[in-house]
Amino acid sequence: MSHALTGDADLPQEAVGPQETHEVDYLRAEGGVRSWLLTTDHKRIGLMFYGLVVLFLILGGLFAMVLRAELITPEPTLIEADTYNRMFTLHGVIMVWMFMIPSIPNVFGNFVLPLMLGAKDLAFPRLNLLSLYVFALGSVVTLGGAALGGTDTGWTFYAPYSTSTSTAVVPVVAGIFILGVSSIMTGLNFIVTTHTMRARGMSWTRVPLFVWAIYATSVIILFATPVLGMSITLVGIDHVYHFGIFDPRLGGDPVLFQHLFWFYSHPAVYIMILPAMGVISEVVCTFTHKPPASYKAIFISSLGIAFVGFFTWGHHMFVAGMSTFDAGVFGILSMFVAIFSAIKVFTWVATMHRGSIQFSTPMLYFLSFLFLFVFGGMTGVAVATQSLDVHWHDTYFVVAHFHFIMVGATLTGFLAAAHYWFPKMFGCLYSERVGMIGATGVFCGFFLTFFPQFLLGNAGMPRRYYAYPERFQWLNALSSGGAFLLGGALLLTLVNLLVALKRGRRADGNPWTSRSFEWMTPTLPPKHNFAVPPRIGRGPYDYHLTEEEAHARVSPG
């Protein structure tokens, strides 16, 4: 905070819009590979994360395509059963730890959080760079494990199988451990930045909702990730030394692992969703040109989800020997999440009411998000009910549910952010038409992939199975078709953005006429974001002000 608060009061208080500075933008500030690899600029680090997570999305997506291709027919066709097991494990591991968890916070959080706070960088820029390298190292180790043959435990590493399988469990869990370290570094950095680097005049009620979401996410990361580290280390140790920590034959307890694993991995769902919700809040306000129907409702429900999320892990173990009383408590606590989520959904919808809605690609992703999130959320309430869960446990119903809620929400949030902040990150505009076609394709593909899986699960098809009875074929084929459509739409979206990088029209500073603070910087922000630390004299959603007034109230000095 120091630079924002130390005596700039003597500076002449001219109404110089921050856009009129003539500094070189961050992309051209320094050249050469070295200037990128050793940068401490949060924007460049964000871009490097962007490259990595997109790569991992493609990789995880390719695995999914192979899995779905295999499942078109009831009998084995494309791959061996062992390969299938390894592939769905890697699909899960890559998508969870290398795409969904880092996606929005590490890419967009890194890029826009300091801009939104009026700060020149994150609080610990070097730690930020280190977290990138630790992330890269973790990914290399994990993928190295994959190259050594991968593992066939599923992304949940349930013991005692994970401690006795002959596949490469150790490198994969070691890689995940390292990824967790990176996660903690980033979370810590965001928390300290939000506390200490806010520009002058930015009170807690003027903090943009995306920042609140990232803040809540970071708190969850700090509390939960160490537990994942501990439990996954035990799996590794058990795998190598056979201590029997989780092996009942040696006096261990496999359910202990499930408790420990889900103590992290359930909150991890909120690590994935909350940032997406933050993006959605920004997108809704910008594209309806209205303040959120209730700022407080959104940020309090973010913190509420972060809190309650820690007390719901038991709902993964309803059939693993839990008393009905405990299961009831966990079920009810899980339903509280739905209450907080509903508060958010209603607030977003109410925000659109009487807004000046601008129909665009991010807005389309918002609508997909809303549908997928509500659908996934409602099925979540259903599976949080003990009696129903006994029927659906370990079936495709659960697969469909968590893909709807966490992938649907995170992916659409990620894509909304990718389009929404594209002009800010790269200074040019993408093709809106192709963007919308892509968004429609993503939604249709997604729905077509996972909706049939609800029906499959309800009809009794277990998850992670390689072959199935013939009567399930048409639904499986439908699901596979949807997956290919989803893959194609994602590819189209990627191409659209890549083409825009080369040929896109130059964007002006604020193409969406947003009031949020990151848009008050020049089109491409300079290396240190602000020539002079800004002073904030309004909220991030003050759409009642005129354009000039809105700018004037974010003044340098």
């Binding site: 506390h195 009170s203 700090l222 160490p226 989780f246 040696l250 006096g251 202990l256 408790h259 839990m322």
Partner: protein, 304 residues
């Protein structure tokens, strides 16, 4: 093989109890785990035993209360009741041994004396010991003789510190009372008319101050650590200091090895407290700092 089932049941019960505690605690992963080295298979299975020895067994009745009104006669010939040795904050270490026993009982008593001698707790002060003879033919005089010997040995183990006879009485009883107590404890023994001796298991019982069975310790040697942990456990934290409680968190009785061993859940609990404290302090400091900063800023704004 019944013992195997019983032990397994105990694991399940422990796991469920701890899971319930975990729900209560919420924060931190406080879960059951018997992280221990490989267990020996339960004894007495495949090995051929003389018929009478098959009557010697222990069926664990953890958590069950013993009848406190059972009457016995102490070494001085007075009539006493089991309940006289219970109550207060002191857990009770109960030994079943008969005084003309040629081998095993003496080994059990010697092992117990050795373990208790190394304990920093004072008998009679932090815990109570009681020996009950399960041979109805034993007399008060035999009890007194045995008591004198055992107490002298314990006193030697405790570097000469005198042990009050009240801290470790030796009592005898009639067949009905002995039978009732043995049934309460799950202690199964058999008389062998050929040798005029009893076949019986080697174990001591640790009871809570209100007379519930808290722990069975098996064998003929009782490491001080196991005794200490069993006493801490039975006293429900009323005996011992804060350090003991932290140590207790990290150890758990492992029914598979029949020893106290490091408990994964304990380390997790400590780890979770560590995480909560670290992150909590971080957040509290930041919020505190932030509030101070804003107040300062407001004041400055007021002056402008």
């Amino acid at each position: 093989m019944r013992r195997g089932t019983v032990v397994r049941l105990a694991v399940v019960r422990l796991a469920v109890a701890l899971a319930l505690t975990g729900v209560g605690l919420g924060a931190g992963a406080a879960f059951a785990g018997q992280g221990g080295p490989a267990a020996a298979p339960p004894p007495g299975g495949a090995v051929a035993l003389p018929p009478v020895a098959r009557g010697a067994d222990i069926e664990e009745r953890l958590g069950q209360a013993v009848r406190k009104d059972l009457a016995f006669t102490d070494a001085a010939g007075r009539e006493v009741r089991l309940g006289d040795y219970l109550g207060g904050d002191r857990p009770l270490v109960l030994v079943l041994a008969y005084y003309r026993c040629p081998a095993l009982c003496s080994m059990v008593l010697r092992g117990l004396v050795e373990g208790l001698g190394r304990l920093s707790f004072t008998p009679g002060d932090e815990y109570q010991v009681l020996t009950v003879s399960f041979d109805p033919r034993d007399t008060a005089a035999a009890a007194a003789k045995k008591q004198a010997g055992v107490l002298a040995e314990l006193s030697r183990g405790r570097e000469g510190a005198a042990v009050s006879p009240k801290a470790w009485p030796f009592v005898v009883g009639k067949e009905a009372e002995i039978g009732a107590l043995a049934a309460d404890l799950g202690f199964q023994f058999a008389f062998d008319p050929a040798t005029e001796q009893y076949a019986h298991p080697a174990a001591v019982f640790v009871l809570t101050p209100d007379g519930r069975i808290s722990r069975y310790l098996y064998g003929a040697d009782y490491p001080a650590r196991d005794l200490r942990l069993a006493l801490l456990e039975a006293s429900e934290g009323k005996v011992g200091g804060i350090v003991d409680r932290v140590i207790m968190t990290c150890y758990r009785y492992d029914p598979a090895t029949r020893r106290y061993g490091p408990a994964i859940s304990g380390f997790f609990r400590l780890g979770s407290v560590g995480i909560l404290a670290t992150v909590g302090t971080l957040l509290a400091t930041l919020w505190h700092r932030d509030r101070k900063q804003r107040r300062q800023e407001r004041e400055e704004a007021g002056h402008e």
